[in-house]
Symmetry: C2
Subunit: 200 residues, 2 copies
């Protein structure tokens, strides 16, 4: 998504070869007009599939789930993060290890809001190690809902997240894929051209 | 806001005379169409004032700040909650005591995203004890920005939040004000009629 890559180049802060701060326009201060465009694109990448619900994780996924929900005219659900490892019969949960914070937390979604019959698009701001997204995929699978795919705003293409999700047979889309970065430098992957299957 | 009061009556879960759960449509699963209408109304209550930025607190304020930001065509900022009481020169912060969780946390906003020249509308999902909102007001005051007012989705009118904010000379609006509740019963305040000042 060209508009997004341009903003990252202009306003993103590259602190190291793995840390990119985009909190001036995406995840602390949020440019609402840009977030709405991002929502359209997150949803548009799966436009051929019926989607009944968007799923994300608090906090920084919420604005993009909202925007995708607006584009699709469906509700969204945000999973909650909890330190306590109390299992609840009323909730689906998955353990997620945060490499940034070096701690393990539980991701939970009430069983009332996800189940067979739902066709779910998972969205999030970043795809990097994939830890949180793998947890959300496990929750969707446990619920019996159908997972349509995972659509992310920014992917760190040099980390293992995509590989982990694809091993789980999940279809993954990202609006801006960073192939390499360092303070003062950033490279994005060429936009992927859809390949038409030539064999039937 | 009649549409909101009706949804609370139909889908809200009143667990006690102080605890109302609205997580089927407002703050776990979110009805995006309703959230957009709520955003228009949150902003509309201060339609006579110029607003340059919406401020809220993660996580459950984000969808309403986004919706108000869309209605006003301005960016929004969400304050972050941190356990650590590390002061930072780069951030405004305030201590907030959560009565629900019986813990004190820090609310922080980067100094880059709030300052003199900003005209700020604070929004949140609930106004009850007012603890988090008082923290946000302190941050706005510290930043030198102008506080236009506080606009909340649901107010527990029998708790002290409004009083605390009004003591700080803050203009407060809520879209649905609960005057009394108990399992199976809920009463809302009559919509406030704007009083025209008769003395000059």
């Amino acid at each position: 998504m060209r508009m997004l890559e341009d903003r990252i180049r202009e306003q993103g802060l590259i602190l190291s070869d793995t840390v990119l701060k985009v909190d001036s326009f995406l995840n602390h201060q949020v440019d609402t007009a840009l977030a709405l465009e991002i929502g359209k694109e997150l949803a548009g990448r799966f436009a051929d599939k019926p989607i009944t619900k968007v799923l994300t994780i608090e906090a920084s996924g919420i604005q993009f789930a909202m925007a995708a929900g607006i584009a699709l005219n469906v509700p969204f659900v945000y999973a909650k993060k909890k330190k306590a490892i109390t299992q609840s019969e009323q909730a689906y949960s998955a353990s997620v290890h945060s490499f940034t914070k070096q701690e393990t937390y539980q991701v939970t979604v009430s069983k009332s809001y996800l189940g067979p019959g739902d066709k779910v698009l998972i969205v999030d701001d970043f795809l990097a190690t994939g830890a949180a997204l793998v947890g959300l995929v496990q929750i969707v699978n446990e619920s019996g809902a159908e997972l349509v795919g995972v659509s992310c705003v920014i992917e760190k293409g040099f980390q293992e997240g995509r590989g982990l999700l694809e091993q789980m047979n999940v279809s993954v889309q990202s609006l801006a894929t960073i192939t390499r970065m360092a303070p003062g430098e950033i490279e994005f992957a060429e936009p992927v051209k859809e390949l038409v299957e030539e064999t039937v």
